[in-house]
């Protein structure tokens, strides 16, 4: 259900509230890309930070 392991860094759970349709779209996108939901959201958030000239710490 997912691509190869990304990193072996410890992960923390991150709860947020999102519109249900957005949640559904993100889940479908993860399935289309053959990745896990966590990996996809991690990539999206890292990409956003990079685009803002900020680095994930």
């Amino acid at each position: 259900m997912s691509a190869a392991d990304q990193t072996k860094m410890p992960k923390a759970q991150f709860n947020v509230y999102l519109p249900p349709d957005l949640v559904k779209s993100i889940k479908h996108c993860a399935i289309d890309e053959g990745t896990s939901l966590s990996e996809l959201v991690e990539r999206a958030l890292s990409h956003y930070l990079t685009s803002q000239g900020k680095e994930a710490r």
């Binding site: 259900m1 392991d5 559904k24 479908h28 399935i31 289309d32 990996e39």
Partner: protein
């Protein structure tokens, strides 16, 4: 509370070969991913999920089987587990739906997957399994130890008379069973991993007939008479020993 279904997860080197093998035992495919790599199969009671070891992001090795469950209402399951003192209970979203994880008395993570109405990326099959065959994964741990309370927190109930070596817990409404077997000195028939179980079944079909069917498809099935009843032993496509037992007497 909606019944909790026993649904061990097998990581496999060859999903199609495992599917054909389990079909010979009477299981039938229910849901499979369109991209391949994942499939679940229902039995007369309980089910088995197959996951390609090659695409596992949790380190699943071919032949490794983990204790897992499925339930409709994860919130109720979580509340009951918390009330009974089960550790690390959390519900999270996955691409395929929601999943509950908790820590069992051995310290391993055990998952309860929710049922999702959203089957995007998956195919649903009309599954009509052989009702005689029931899923019964076996966890190697002290049968009279804390694991019994853990299974009871998951709403399973003990079947049969207390036994120092072996106990069976059944889901309500004929939803599969879990065996607890004393650890023994010889090598255990499991691939070590989190919540590792031995993939085992129970059937009311005559075991000689099951063995004949398996042998007809090239499997090395043998039936032995043990002091606890008759047992079929066969090497599955992942090279692991799989057992099919006569039903235990209900207590």
């Amino acid at each position: 509370m909606s019944p909790i279904v026993v649904s061990p997860l097998r990581f496999t080197a060859d999903i199609d070969a495992m599917r054909r093998f389990l079909e010979l035992l009477g299981l039938r495919s229910r849901i499979e991913s369109e991209s391949g790599g994942w499939l679940d199969m229902v039995a007369g009671a309980g089910m088995v999920a197959l996951h390609s070891a090659a695409t596992s992001d949790s380190g699943g090795k071919a032949g490794e089987t983990r204790l897992c469950f499925e339930a409709e209402d994860l919130s109720t399951v979580a509340a009951r587990l918390l009330e009974r003192g089960v550790r690390d209970v959390a519900i999270h979203d996955e691409a395929y739906g929601r999943s509950l994880t908790c820590t069992d008395p051995i310290g391993d993570p055990v998952s309860v997957n929710g049922r999702s109405d959203d089957l995007y990326g998956y195919r649903l099959h009309q599954a009509t399994p052989d009702e005689r065959c029931k899923v019964m994964p076996v966890r190697f741990t002290e049968p009279q130890g804390p694991y019994a309370s853990f299974l009871e927190a998951l709403s399973l109930t003990r079947q049969g008379e207390p036994n120092d070596d072996y106990l069976v817990y059944a889901g309500s409404g004929d939803t599969g069973k879990v065996g607890l077997h004393q650890v023994y000195a010889d090598e255990l028939p499991i691939v070590p991993g989190p919540a590792a179980v031995h993939l085992t079944f129970e059937t009311t079909e005559p075991l000689d007939e099951v063995a004949e069917r398996l042998q007809g498809h090239g499997f090395d099935a043998t039936v032995t008479r043990e002091d606890f009843g008759s047992m079929l032993s066969v090497t599955d496509p992942d090279g692991r020993e799989c057992q099919v037992h006569e039903p235990v007497a209900a207590g």
